[in-house]
């Protein structure tokens, strides 16, 4: 009788320990789930960091390619001395084609900045408004690096007198 009682008591004890263990395993699993969620949140942050890193990578690539791009820019847009001579002839022919005859064209070679020299051309020409506008349009549509830094128009009775300041950039 005593042995049986002891056996049942022992079994009940083991059962209680097992129940506590089982309960603890549930609590432990829940706790682990919570900490796992926070770890996955950190992993999700990684995805955001990855996006920022990709943006930085693009910026890095742009900066790495910048010297080449600047070289291309110079090659495609900045005049060489030979090209400038051709441009000068083209300016005369374009003025003539628009019926504009400037009495003189002043050239001023300015200083160098980043191996690029600025040349300023100053001239005045008189013609119809249509011709003056046609000339301005023709010069604006050219791709090389020159632009009017100022245009001053004064209308006369039939014509418009234009004072032009043109900047041209020469590569050294």
């Amino acid at each position: 009788m005593k042995k049986s009682k002891l056996l049942v008591t022992a079994l009940l004890g083991v059962l209680a320990v097992s129940a506590a263990g089982c309960l603890f395993s549930f609590v432990y699993v829940s706790w682990q789930d919570l900490s796992r969620q926070s770890r996955w949140r950190a992993a999700r942050d990684f995805a955001q960091q990855e996006k920022a890193a990709q943006a930085l990578e693009r910026e890095y690539r742009d900066w790495r390619e910048l010297p080449l791009r600047l070289q291309e820019f110079r090659r495609d847009n900045i005049f060489t001395m030979d090209q400038f001579a051709a441009f000068r002839r083209d300016l005369d022919s374009r003025l003539a084609a628009c019926g504009l005859r400037p009495p003189r064209i002043d050239l001023n070679f300015g200083g160098i900045r980043g191996n690029i020299r600025k040349v300023t051309l100053k001239f005045s020409a008189e013609g119809s408004y249509r011709d003056v506008k046609k000339f301005i349009h023709g010069m604006e549509t050219k791709t090389k690096m020159h632009y009017f830094s100022s245009v001053h128009l004064t209308p006369g009775a039939e014509t418009v007198k234009g004072a032009f300041l043109l900047e041209v950039y020469l590569g050294e």
Binding site: L15, C22, Y28, A43, L70, V151, P155
Partner: protein, 180 residues
């Protein structure tokens, strides 16, 4: 006469079936509880293993990425220092090349109505370049109509005169480049 039986046992006799049933129930509960515990822990372990593999590779990637980001930032800073003046110069040239005089002349043709005359016009190719002009009109309401059209362009009326024949005004305004 009824026979008398004496139970000489020291302890009380146990009901075998009930005892076995109790033991069976206890053992079953024990097996079930331990089974659940083991299943829980095994599940946790397998999840941990999968997570460790995933998180481990992510943290390796993250460390490599942070290192690369740091290197890239340093290199970009060095490049910026070296190339920014040339870049700014090139951008300034492109900005000025994009400036369109024709677009401004087209705009003026649109806003100056009939009976108006532009007496002088100066257009400067500068970031804050303003168009300065002197206009005359036969009637004052023509000038007012022009002012209304130029109001969105930071119009400044410098001078307004009236002569016997016409109304004159000197004004300037700022116009963004339409080509941009």
């Amino acid at each position: 006469m009824k026979k008398i039986n004496y139970n000489l046992a020291v302890r009380r006799k146990i009901d075998g079936r009930a005892f076995a049933l109790t033991l069976a129930v206890l053992l079953l509960a024990l097996v079930m509880l331990n089974g659940i515990t083991l299943w829980n822990l095994a599940r946790l372990q397998s999840q941990d293993r999968a997570e460790k593999t995933a998180i481990g590779s992510i943290s390796q990637k993250m460390a490599a990425m942070n290192q690369r980001t740091l290197e890239q930032r340093n290199e970009i800073a060095a490049w910026q220092k070296a190339w920014n003046p040339q870049l700014a110069h090139a951008n300034a040239l492109i900005m000025r090349k994009c400036f369109s005089y024709c677009a401004r002349l087209d705009f003026l043709e649109r806003v100056c109505g009939a009976g108006m005359r532009v007496r002088q016009l100066t257009i400067l190719n500068e970031p804050a370049g303003r168009i300065t002009m002197a206009v005359s009109a036969m009637a004052q309401n023509q000038l007012v109509a022009l002012y209304k059209k130029l109001l969105p362009y930071q119009l400044v009326i410098a001078q307004e005169n009236q002569s016997a024949e016409s109304y004159q005004a000197s004004l300037n305004f700022r116009m963004e480049d339409e080509k941009k």
